[in-house]
Amino acid sequence: MIITKKRDFQELMENIKNYKSFFLIGCSECASLCGTGNQEAIDALTEALKAEGKEVEGGFVAKTGCQVLGTKTELKPFKEALDKTECILVMSCGAGTQAAVEIFEDKPVYATNDSLFLGNMTRFQFFDERCSLCGKCILDKTGGICPITACPKGILNGPCGGCKDGKCEVSPDIKCAWVRIYERMKKLDRLQDLCDNALEAKDWSSSIKPRTLVTRPDKKEEKKK
């Protein structure tokens, strides 16, 4: 899921200082699990804004805030509140915020969160980054542990000289990705693979931005068949 973190409230207030009335859009997916876009978060921000003398015309938790058409449909019942609103606050990720930008052509939209990374939830509201969305997976070659993400240098052929007692030079809180990969490959009896196969430099052309993808079958092609 996309891990988000609430932005500093004063920074948010500075961003929205020119506006008086707001509508808040949360998200029931990632941002709810992060506690940044669920109903409780909306209620808390509503209170905080009111305390600053702002008006909150309404708010709701979108099912999937990054889904443009679905969110647009979900917003229909809120037309009256939205008409009175000067500014939209989106309480999900950068994708959710930009879905709102697309929906609200004439209204300013601000993000209340910073979007951090694609993460795993290891315990309730404990998040770890494990995948960098690089576009060409190498997990099959590294025992299922991604060195591009788990190693601060993202290196592909073993630990660097900064590994100290299995910990990373960047922080003792990080276990060396390549020691983890080594240990896992050893358990799987695949150490020889690790020794024999030096990984080539990555082809970064698979992650040139902005990326798009269409997975829906082409209807005309379908009909022909």
Partner: protein, 293 residues
């Protein structure tokens, strides 16, 4: 004779290093280069060591050549992508820089520009492959070069890494990727190093043992607590402590000289790489005491 030829001649080789300064005043650096001229077989020029921004390695390598010292261009993957690295390698080649040491490079968080974007488009094993490819007239993308390079390429290894086996797997990858010589991280336990050499001698590469001078017992303890891949044995710390504050540095120089002497006399490895870290002027003293001058 070139560094490469000296290494293959079987002579016990000595390399040292010079760290380019931050800023354009190079008087002291030139003094160190002059001091080491004719004494060491080659001089490593570090590449923004510890991720602290300084004069680039290539410019200082050129200055070494002008002063009659053969340089080893240290090249890290932290600051340049594959285009930058290859371009600099071609540049180094036309400046007559013959030796290149391929390393991954300390993370930007270790340095003085922590907000920088770390690159690591390739890493040490892959960079060795790149050098090999340029030597064979092709760039990384397989394009023909108009004139190939003729580098003698090396790499680094940490014989006291913990855990060791992943490090050795990488060492073997470096050998296969074309490394011809290795300079090791600092070693202090000669018996343990002998074990490493027993293993490393199976490979067709030259090994220079890393020597870092201990200035005090405090420095030794600091290394043990903070520096990855280096272990100073307790008896050396005791020796430094017993020497007292005034004699500690002199004792450190003796320890370095003693180790070098043993490595040479017992024919343990192919040479040493002395990292003086700010005490370049002491390198001749160490060499003298080791019986090398």
């Amino acid at each position: 004779m070139s560094f490469k030829d000296i290494l293959s001649s079987g002579k016990f080789v000595v390399t040292a290093e010079v760290g380019p300064p931050k800023g354009t005043d190079i008087k002291e650096m030139i003094h160190h280069i002059e001091l080491l001229k004719g004494k060491v077989d080659a001089l490593n020029v570090t590449d923004n060591q510890s991720a602290v921004m300084r004069i680039c390695s290539m410019a200082v390598c050129k200055i070494c050549l002008e002063h009659g010292v053969e340089p080893i261009l240290q090249m890290t993957c932290r600051d340049r992508n594959r285009i930058g690295l290859q371009s600099d390698l071609l540049g180094a080649s036309i400046l007559n820089i013959k030796n290149v040491l391929c390393m991954t490079g300390d993370h930007v968080l270790a340095g003085d520009h922590k907000q920088a974007k770390p690159v690591y488009d390739v890493e040490s094993v892959q960079l060795l492959g790149v050098v090999n490819s340029l030597n064979n007239g092709k760039d990384m993308a397989g394009n023909d070069l108009k004139g190939s390079t003729d580098f003698f390429q090396g790499a680094v290894v940490t014989p006291e890494a913990n855990p060791l086996e992943p490090q050795l797997i990488k060492f073997e990858k470096k050998v296969r990727a074309g490394a011809r010589f290795f300079q090791t991280q600092a070693i202090y336990d000669i018996n343990k190093f002998k074990d490493f050499m027993k293993y490393a001698k199976k490979f067709p590469v030259k090994i220079l043992a890393g020597i870092v001078v201990l200035k005090s017992a405090g420095m030794a303890n600091f290394i043990n607590n903070n520096v990855p891949g280096i272990r100073v044995p307790q008896e050396l710390i005791d020796e430094l402590k017993a020497a007292g504050k005034e004699k500690a540095l002199d004792t450190g120089l003796n320890i370095a000289a003693r180790h070098i002497k043993q490595l040479k006399e017992e024919n343990i490895c192919d040479g040493v790489h002395i990292m003086a870290i700010g005490m370049e002027d002491k390198v001749p003293t160490i060499m003298e005491r080791a019986g090398l001058l």
